[in-house]
Amino acid sequence: MTPELEFGFRQTRRHLMQTAGLGMGCMALQSLLAEEGGSAPGSLSSAARFASGSAPRAKSVIYLHMAGSPSQLELFEHKPELQRLHLQDCPESMLAGRRFAFIKGVPRILAGQFEFQQHGESGQWISELLPQFASVSDRACVIRTMKTEEFNHAPSQLFLQTGNARPGSPAMGSWVTWGLGSMNKNLPGFVVLLSGGKTPDAGKSLWGTGYLPSVYQGVNCRTDGDPVLFLSDPGGMSRRVRRRMLDALDQLNTAELERSGDPETETRMSQYELAYRMQMAVPEVMDLTREPKHILEMYGAQPGYQSPAETAADPRVLYRGDDPTFANNCLLARRLVEAGVRFVQLYDWGWDHHGSSPGESIDETLPIKCQAADRPIAALIRDLEQRGLLDETLIVWGGEFGRTPMLQNNVRSEIRKGFVGRDHHPDAFTMWLAGGGIKGGLSWGRTDDFGYEAIENPTSVRDLQATILYALGLDPYRFSYLYQGLENRLIGPTEEGRVLHDILA
């Protein structure tokens, strides 16, 4: 398609509204989204154009990203062979041609540090650190053979979330919101919730829009301060005064619209009204006190809790297993999805367990992080299920890569308590998907005896991205945006990404 035709296709917002009025009956979904001078957001142009042809399995996504990357060998990958070779030198064959972030020389094998058991009807292997998740593991498809191409945090997070290891490409949430629009006219379509005391390593680029119009960028909803930046009126201004001010503004703008004739003025007027409604809707949806006690308990959530770890210079040493910040975010995710938000992205920082500084070890920190995360995640699955939302919500869990079966230790010293760690490992790690069209109880792919390499059904980040888009009813190969003369896609320029039909129900 030539740019003119492309341009003609996208057409103006007005045109879109009209068509939407005729066909889709859901103009509201466009209300958050308006790009000056035309080129239109999603729903009609993209949802229809890029439909996969198979019915969407999920309507929305909750993506739980454990930033730093938890060890698959302590959570999902039961490898008795590691026990046998514990603290022996790692075989040469495992080192040839490999790059590591920190490991130097010949490292030693580190046994899995926690007990494993099979759970549920499906008999998934899950470690003692995730007892609650184990109880709902029949809902999840555990992919044991994830592979990525990057082994430093920031590039790897970007690759996973934007399809490009360098900043500047749209986030998955932006893609999906651009493609499908929002389902609530008063809330952003793509919401980001943070915990763990630090922004994930790659920063805001992880929820940026790249070359997509900036309206699709993720909105960081916060539990501290304004839930959305600039949402609150300045202190001293009542809602009534704000309303009166907007009424006067509306009159002034109407006069300008009559004079200038510019439809853009009209769009701006409607955006001010929408902002006013957001000022009500966002705090409402972010208000956990509206949840009944049993739900709060189910998640382990505590409305209004401000964790000292969230503002500390080094939060890692303040982590506690009963810190409810992540639980609060899980509950918020459910509330947001329930209210029609398309994509909710959680980042929980603090899963980078090298064992080289206090607060980042496999033996001490990982159990604390798991304790804080396990219950709310299981609660999220149950809660969505009991509300009938699990079928239409896709939950994704995982880090940006895996961890080595080798101990990360540059000195040949004894293992010290609180300093047991593993290095970054891009070639095999575990993620799981649940809900929206996913075959529960499935264990996908198999790794070797060290959990080091996929030997059955290796699954690339591209595969995961393609599968997520497909589950949402989009054709990952055709789902593209023309920029710099290229049809850019989430799954990248090559055709290597495959939809994992086997894990879809």
Partner: protein
């Protein structure tokens, strides 16, 4: 919402396509305009320049290949559409046969098929992509402005449209001022022009605004987007980086209207210019804006190569509008750039010394004139003081007030036949053989009385300037391993005297003076690296020693380190004063004061030096250290392919002579700016045009390749390009030419006819009406409220932003909201942290500086409304404007405020909604004085004498309404 439907027209889509229908302009099908876009989008992916993806060995991007017999026939047979297999394959009903294959998702539309058929019927005349042919000045009048108007009018007439009438004078001043300086005029400046709005005055106004210092600031922002400017390094740690001196340099160059060709040479290769000045080297910081990754465990070479690629991509993109990034991994699918050619350019940029090092080296120190002077002064004072101090320290004559008495030995012994002599004032000099180790034994009978402390001065004999305190000329240090003191009473047996504590003016690291009496001969007192200065140490005795007539004192200076680290010239003195006094008077009077002064000056110098901005710049590796460049297979730096020679793409050859050693960065600059380069002039002219009109003649400013948009006014684009180039690449000249035109000065009112025929204003039947840039939105707020500081340059500032945003991993840098001047500086000075850019600016489409941003896509969102309503800066601006409004006579307040913001006459009637708001809200605040007080606190508005707080609070609300008007946020 319903309002929107009122203006919807079903003809919009139709009308829009109509504008660009190829059949519309002339009957002859143009290859570059009509055919090439179809071939490139539909066919080139498999039948284009990329050999790796090529199918059936057929290239449709080459005329020879397309007209050649292939296995399935001749794709294109001139004048024979039915005999052309390209057409039959496209038209085929058979899913195995049809092109493009169904799985590509591409189909050739009916309209496109018609064009291809017609083109072949007309003879299938081949050509180049329009943008790859050099621009030619169309046959139009010599005066650029006149020609510009003519070309736009001609195109309008073709579509039955015409220019809008000239906008009124007020509107034009505001428009011009915002476009050229990013700031609105004051109402007074606007009125001055409105009173006398002739052509001459208009031209004078343009010239005056071009001369404003704010001009450079405004246009620098565009350059900063291109240069991916930021104040941090990016990625995980995202630590600070000193780039602002480059930003200040940029503002200065723009204010001097430096021609683009000169700027280009300096930006890309200023360091390589003969006798490069500091400014020219600073210019190269441009390409050091690439990100670097300080994350633990990263491979520096990976991020170095990424930075080099970014430089290649950004250079091609900024100057030539070519998207080269895809050629990192494979040959370009649509444009003539092979992967080898990409790495040919890469090879040129691959020879700079930077290597993703944590310290960002190489760095250039930019002391600045004022600081440089101060440093020179300090260095001079320090020099004077040092020689004075040396003299004082070495002073041997006893001072009258001196309480120290020289210990003049009666017996001296050194080992290894070394010779010891006593000189003037008790100075002992050692000469002769110099054994590795030496113990000096000294005995004397002091005058009867008390001794509390003993002093050893290591001296440098006068007249031996470069000598040191030790006997080894190669390492003139000494190590006093142990000092032994014994008293040999006239009667009785000798006993040793214990030292309680000691103090030296200086001790070598790990060789403290205390080690000279710790009983351990392996440790001791030494003075490196200050061994070329005199030193002194005071040893305070455990108990004051009472000397009676005939008592002898015996000292042993054991120096056992080896290597002849033994004292050469020294003096020993004793005192009866208290330990404190003894320790204070290590040296002669005056030394202490001078030393303190010296320390202070040295500290000042250190601080001054560490405050010198050190900016990352380009520096070429020495020839012998040049890197070999190999192609990166699939873009992977760990998978090197064939070696690649530095060079330029075949489709865009270099015409100037290249140095014998192969092309370098200077050649890149010359290649970009050569008259023969078909793209640079067009790309830049289009870029400047877009800033003034709201969109480019080529809307895809970032892509002038075959996949880019075709120009709405090809002749106009060429006119602007040629004029820009021939006017010596002067930005001001180009702006003058455009701003003087009728096209620029016309009204921006959108009529019903416009909405129907040209909703996107591609034909320019009206002036652009669009929301101001993020920076201009904020700067204008500050300007009209009277808060704006016009202070230029310097380190980035931190105006208020919501708390808790900066939470980078492993980085303790903090955002501290500025007070005073820095709270209200122009937005280009706002600290830009790549992973957490200033939210009020990014909400209005500003970038993060992570990558080269060719244009900002303007959006219109509710989050923007929230910024304008609630951001601290917006609230303070409302407060400041309200204060100023209240200072006006009552009946003029609202009109005055509106006029201040909108820069146009305002009638009382137009302020009616505000009057009602004021009255209503004032009542509310009267009933809730604590709310009024709170709002005023937040808005930092201060109640004047005898003024009711409720009135000011209500006026803050009114001012807020004024500052949120669409008209205010819009350039029109």
């Amino acid at each position: 919402m319903q309002g929107l439907l009122r203006v919807v027209s079903s003809t919009v889509l139709v009308a829009c396509c109509h504008v660009f229908s190829p059949a519309d302009a002339e009957d002859q099908v143009s290859f570059s305009r009509d055919v090439l876009p179809i071939l490139s989008t539909r066919c080139f992916a498999c039948h284009g320049p990329d050999a790796a993806q090529r199918q059936a060995e057929l290239r449709l991007d080459l005329e020879t290949d397309a007209k050649l017999e292939h296995s399935s026939g001749v794709p294109v047979v001139p004048k024979d559409p039915d005999g052309s297999t390209m057409l039959s394959r496209i038209n085929s009903e058979d899913s195995e046969e049809v092109m493009p294959p169904p799985e590509t998702g591409q189909t050739v539309t009916v309209e496109e098929r018609k064009i291809l058929r017609e083109w072949i019927a007309q003879g299938a005349v081949w050509g180049k992509h329009w943008a790859f042919e050099a621009p030619v000045r169309p046959e139009v009048p010599r005066n650029g402005t006149v020609a510009l108007d003519l070309l736009v009018k001609k195109k309008l007439a073709d579509h039955g449209l015409q220019l809008s009438p000239q906008a009124d004078a007020w509107q034009r001043v505001r428009r011009l001022s915002l476009d050229l300086t990013g700031l609105p005029p004051t109402p007074e400046q606007a009125e001055q022009f409105a009173n006398n709005p002739g052509t001459e005055q208009w031209n004078a106004l343009i010239d005056a605004l071009l001369e404003r210092p704010e001009f450079g600031e405004h246009w620098a922002r565009m350059w900063m987007d291109l240069a991916r400017y930021a104040d941090t390094k990016g990625y995980e740690k995202d630590r600070g980086r000193t780039m602002w001196p480059w930003r200040d340099w940029l503002v200065q160059q723009l204010n001097q209207d430096r021609p683009l060709n000169e700027l280009t040479r300096e930006l890309l290769a200023g360091d390589l210019l003969p006798a490069a000045t500091v400014d020219q080297r600073l210019a190269t910081a441009f390409h050091r804006n690439t990100m670097s990754n300080d994350e633990g465990g990263t491979d520096n070479e990976e991020f170095r190569t990424l930075a080099v690629k970014d430089r290649v991509d950004s250079t091609l993109q900024i100057w030539m509008g070519l998207t080269a990034g895809c050629a990192r991994c494979h040959s370009h699918k649509y444009d003539p750039l092979t992967q080898e050619e990409y790495y040919g350019l890469y090879a040129i940029f691959n020879q700079t010394a930077d290597a993703d090092r944590p310290d960002d080296a190489p760095l250039l120190s930019i002391p600045g004139d004022e600081r440089r002077l101060r440093i020179e002064e300090l260095e001079q004072s320090i020099g004077t003081l040092k020689s004075r101090l040396e003299h004082l320290r070495n002073q041997l004559e006893s001072n009258e007030n001196d309480h120290w008495t020289a210990f003049v030995p009666q017996r001296m012994e050194a080992q290894g036949h070394a010779k010891m002599e006593t000189g003037q004032a008790g100075v002992i000099t050692v000469s002769g053989p110099s054994p590795e180790r030496n113990d000096y034994l000294l005995e004397s009978a002091p005058a009867p009385g008390s001794i509390t402390a003993l002093r050893i001065q290591a001296l440098i004999p006068d007249g031996q300037k470069n000598a040191g305190v030790g006997r080894n000329p190669g390492d003139p240090n000494f190590v006093l391993s142990e000092l032994l003191i014994e008293i040999i009473p006239a009667e009785g047996s000798p006993r040793s005297v214990a030292v309680q504590r000691a103090k030296a003016d200086f001790s070598q690291r790990n060789w403290p003076v205390q080690a000279a009496f710790d009983g351990d001969l392996k440790t001791g007192w030494a003075v490196s690296p200050q061994m070329r200065q005199p030193h002194a140490a005071v040893f305070v005795l455990q108990q004051p020693l009472t000397i009676s007539e005939g008592d002898m004192l015996r000292l042993q200076l054991q120096q056992r380190y080896g290597n002849s680290l033994t004292m050469r010239c020294f003096r020993i003195s004793v005192t009866a004063e208290s330990a404190e006094v003894a320790e204070r008077d290590l040296f002669a009077p005056g030394v202490r004061e001078a030393a303190a002064e010296l320390a202070q000056l040295e500290n000042q110098l250190k601080q001054l030096r560490s405050a010198i901005p050190r900016v990352p710049v380009m520096e070429e590796l020495a020839r012998e250290r040049n890197r070999e460049t190999r192609l990166h297979v699939r873009g992977n730096f760990l998978d090197p392919g064939e070696p690649v020679m530095a060079g330029f793409p075949e489709a865009f050859p270099i015409v100037s002579t290249v140095a014998a050693g192969g092309p370098g960065r200077l050649d890149v600059a010359d290649w970009l700016m050569a008259d023969s380069n078909p793209l640079t002039a067009r790309v830049w002219a289009n870029r400047i045009w877009a800033r003034l009109m709201g969109q480019g003649i080529v809307t895809t400013e970032e892509d002038f390749g075959t996949m880019g948009a075709t120009p709405s006014h090809p002749e106009l684009l060429d006119l602007l390009a040629v004029e820009h180039r021939d006017n010596g690449w002067s930005l001001r000249q180009l702006l003058r030419m455009i701003c003087r035109s009728e096209v620029y000065q016309q009204s921006s009112i959108v009529t019903a006819e416009h909405r129907l025929q040209d909703p996107e204003n591609r034909l320019l039947a009206r002036a652009g009406r669009f929301r101001l840039s993020a920076e201009a939105v904020r700067d204008q707020l500050l300007a009209v409220s009277g808060l704006l500081s016009l202070h230029q340059g310097g380190p980035p500032v931190m105006p208020p932003q919501p708390a808790g945003l900066w939470r980078s991993t492993y980085n303790s840098e903090k955002w501290v909201n500025a007070e005073g001047d820095n709270r209200y500086r122009r937005s280009l000075y706002t600290y830009l942290k790549r992973t957490t850019p200033y939210p009020a600016l990014t909400t209005f489409d500003a970038g993060s500086g992570e990558f080269c941003m060719i244009r900002r896509i303007r959006t219109n969102t509710p989050l923007q409304a929230l910024v304008m309503l609630n951001d601290q800066t917006a609230v303070e601006a409302a407060g400041a404007l309200a204060e100023r409004m209240l200072a006006q006579p009552q009946e003029h307040r609202l009109i005055w405020g509106m006029r201040q913001a909108l820069i146009r006459p305002v009638s009382a009637e137009q302020t009616e909604p505000l009057q009602m708001l004021l009255d209503d809200v004032m009542q509310e605040f009267e009933a809730a004085p604590e709310s009024a007080a709170e709002l005023l606190r937040n808005a930092r508005a201060e109640v004047a004498e005898n003024q009711p707080a409720a009135e000011l609070a209500a006026m803050v609300v009114v001012a807020g309404a004024i500052l949120n008007q669409d008209e205010f946020l819009t350039r029109h």
